[in-house]
Symmetry: C2
């Protein structure tokens, strides 16, 4: 397997068994599936769409390798299927069409992030990867936007790779958190691959490697005169600040990673200023999140930048989104059949949708989730075509452009939406046409149920 | 990049800047670092060590590719470094020694999961990957053990890939949850790579793809007579059960994914039994976790197996562990210097450690974290050598063996430890020798601080 992980086996087994069933029954309509988050976590008032670039990479690259097909043939559940299905897998490509929200677009519960229209087997097999990649990056970008907002213009660096859910998660979290408004990451691979600015100079272990703390500082400052961020909390934070001052070092920054960041930063600032080190910045890290940062700044902590790890890279207070991928229609022989699910708790709306966003005087006022054939001339349709016949229609935008777009879009959300503690929810409604279509289907199904029940 | 992700850039930038500093200062002692979790999350009473196989794969495979070195040379922070450092990176290999807990060993806060002893640059660069991989898999294995325990012998299948933190996280979560005691996974790639048994037959979309629910059932049952798990909650759960009964189908299993799983399963069981379908099993899924499963079984839900997604693959109630990797000693010219960190909140103990586990009558009674040179003849030392000179000492055990070992080890934990709601914590203490060494260092540092302060 190579990264990005394009193996078609990165999917749930039922996608393959359903594929076998469709293939064997020669049932191969064109299906449309929509990927959306059912509802926002309690702590979120918007999400930022993210991960489309990797989704399109995957759709262009997905293949079954010969040894993967051999593995499948050996599974008892597939033992009854003959050669033709496995030959089909050998030549498997994604040939469908994709519509999606541009990365960086604010998005709410029930609004499609992405729609796949493809032969049903193709559309099924890609479900698992698309859900995992898009909901994860969307979750982290949304968290990144919150942390960046709390820092109120001060830089926020993603320090979360070591606490992320495995190496790839940290790498993707670095991308997504930058997209959401963070300044950079410690993750070097994400720097190289995605162009995220990378940050970091030294850890406690460097300070501890020398017998004397000041010796460690001197050596590092000598080697990195313009970049060193001297870490002062290995033993005694304020004693370390004093050592720096008395030694004549003039570091660009110091970093405090433990203790009472508010009072330590205030006292460190006072001592640095008194010694003429007004230019030395104070960087904070250590179990930070958007609420801790807000509180520190409200208490006038003298902090100029933040490193945020676990809370950011795991979206710790909301570590999953209720992402789903639902069949909305089937086209076969020129006829469209709409599909919906209306079990007791979980309803999904039928038909291909468009999200229309309304604004007044530069502020978004609400969205309508409508059928894709509807038109609202005064609103902006958010979903746009991004792939046809399995090829992307345009190169993915630069990540910095996406970050800037996200910033502008978030600024247009109503004020209660932009607060850390969710206020009045953003107005999202389904169009009347969509509701009528759902009711029609529900009635038809009830009749079918009665007939066959 | 190929999977497993061996790129040496999957690290924090400060590991590279520290490496440059050590290289430039010709400061290259042999360093020992220990990786441990500071404390258990509130909802856990033990953790299961996991991820060692991938950690060793990484250590054997880590390389800097030429284009990665070029990327590093272009970073302003490294601009002052000359060719020699980048040539060093070109030939970089991990050449160190590793001690570790066997995968599947129950482990508690402060106990080393792994110790790396290597030239300091090597030991630093691998920090980030080791932390991310080991703490993630350990977190999921621990959650898997809880969910499996709640199911009280009934199969639990990991359905979490779609909600995991990106595709690789789902893949690794499938491995770790099986290690912890789950029965299998829906993740096909994890089946092929790790030998985890794979499960899954059909989704709501299959049922929805046909105009008639019963037609979907019939077709699927015909194609997968021994394996089909018919999903009955797409429209009306009990109506679907009735359709199955009246149609004469005799499916191996049905699956309920929404609604009141307790009453629906009881009523479905009653109707199936009344129709002579006593052999048809009932499989439950839909936002399950260890507490929901416990509650369902306590209320006599008629459920034979469980699919668990989000809660398992994200360890949703404890989505991160406080994993750290701390310098404990340095050896240079035959002299060992011990290292500890004793800032206000965060103390780490110096010197290489061993964890000794005591038992009475087949039940573990407590652990002592001691210096590695100590001996407790009546206790079992948990850390064992697994790698020397950068090569593993033995092939990694088969995952099924690890699962069985974990099961046996968990069974030896005291009863309060094995409950879902943590009772009396397991007894872990530091040895006197270790405490003395810490105090010695603290006094010495206080003196050094006073001299240079």
């Amino acid at each position: 397997m190579s990264w990005p992980l394009h193996s078609a086996l990165l999917t749930d087994l039922y996608e393959i068994t359903m594929a076998a069933a469709y293939f064997e029954s020669d049932f191969q309509p064109t299906a449309s599936f929509e990927l959306f988050v059912r509802s926002l976590p309690p702590e979120r008032s918007f999400l930022l769409a993210a991960g489309l670039e990797q989704a399109l990479d995957y759709l262009e690259g997905i293949r079954f390798q010969p040894e993967e097909i051999e593995y499948l043939r050996r599974q008892p559940v597939l033992a009854n299927f003959d050669k033709a299905f496995f030959e089909y897998l050998r030549d498997f490509r994604f040939t469908g069409e994709v519509w999606a929200l541009p990365e960086g677009t604010p998005v709410f519960g029930e609004e499609p992030l992405l729609r796949v229209t493809a032969p049903i087997i193709e559309a099924q097999i890609v479900e698992t990867f698309l859900l995992s990649n898009l909901t994860f990056q969307t979750m982290i970008a949304s968290k990144g936007a919150r942390v960046a907002a709390a820092a109120a213009g001060r830089p926020v660096i993603d320090f979360g790779t070591r606490r992320a859910h495995g190496p790839e998660a940290g790498f993707l979290a670095a991308r997504a958190s930058f997209l959401g408004g963070c300044t950079g990451t410690s993750n070097v691979a994400a720097g190289m691959r995605f162009g995220v600015p990378i940050f970091g100079t030294l850890a406690h272990s460097y300070v501890m490697a020398y017998d004397d703390e000041l010796e460690a500082f001197r050596r590092f400052e000598e080697l990195f005169p313009e970049h060193a961020v001297l870490l002062v909390d290995t033993y005694d934070t304020l004693a370390a600040v004093d050592k720096i001052i008395h030694s004549g070092l003039r570091p660009k920054s110091i970093r405090i990673d433990s203790g009472d960041l508010c009072t330590l930063s205030q006292e460190a600032r006072r001592r640095l200023d008194a010694a003429g080190l007004n230019q030395t910045r104070i960087f904070a890290s250590g179990d930070l999140n958007e609420f801790v940062i807000t509180d520190l700044l409200a208490r006038d902590a003298k902090l100029d930048a933040f490193g945020v790890g676990t809370a950011l890279a795991t979206s710790k207070d909301a570590p999953s989104l209720s992402g789903v991928y639902k069949l909305v229609d089937l086209v076969s022989g020129g006829t469209t059949s709409y599909r919906a699910k209306f079990s007791e708790e979980k309803v999904t709306y039928p038909g291909r949708k468009q999200v229309f966003r309304f604004q007044t005087a530069g502020t978004y006022t609400g969205d309508v989730i409508a059928r894709d054939c509807e038109a609202y001339p005064e609103a902006w349709p958010l979903l746009a075509p991004v792939m046809r016949e399995g090829r992307r229609l345009a190169p993915s935008p630069d990540l910095r452009q996406i970050q800037e777009y996200a910033r502008q879009e978030v600024a247009k959300l109503p004020e209660p939406c932009r607060q850390l503690r969710p206020g009045e929810p953003y107005a999202v409604r389904f169009s009347r046409q969509l509701q009528s279509l759902l009711e029609e289907l529900r009635e038809r199904d009830t009749m079918v149920s009665k007939r066959s029940g």
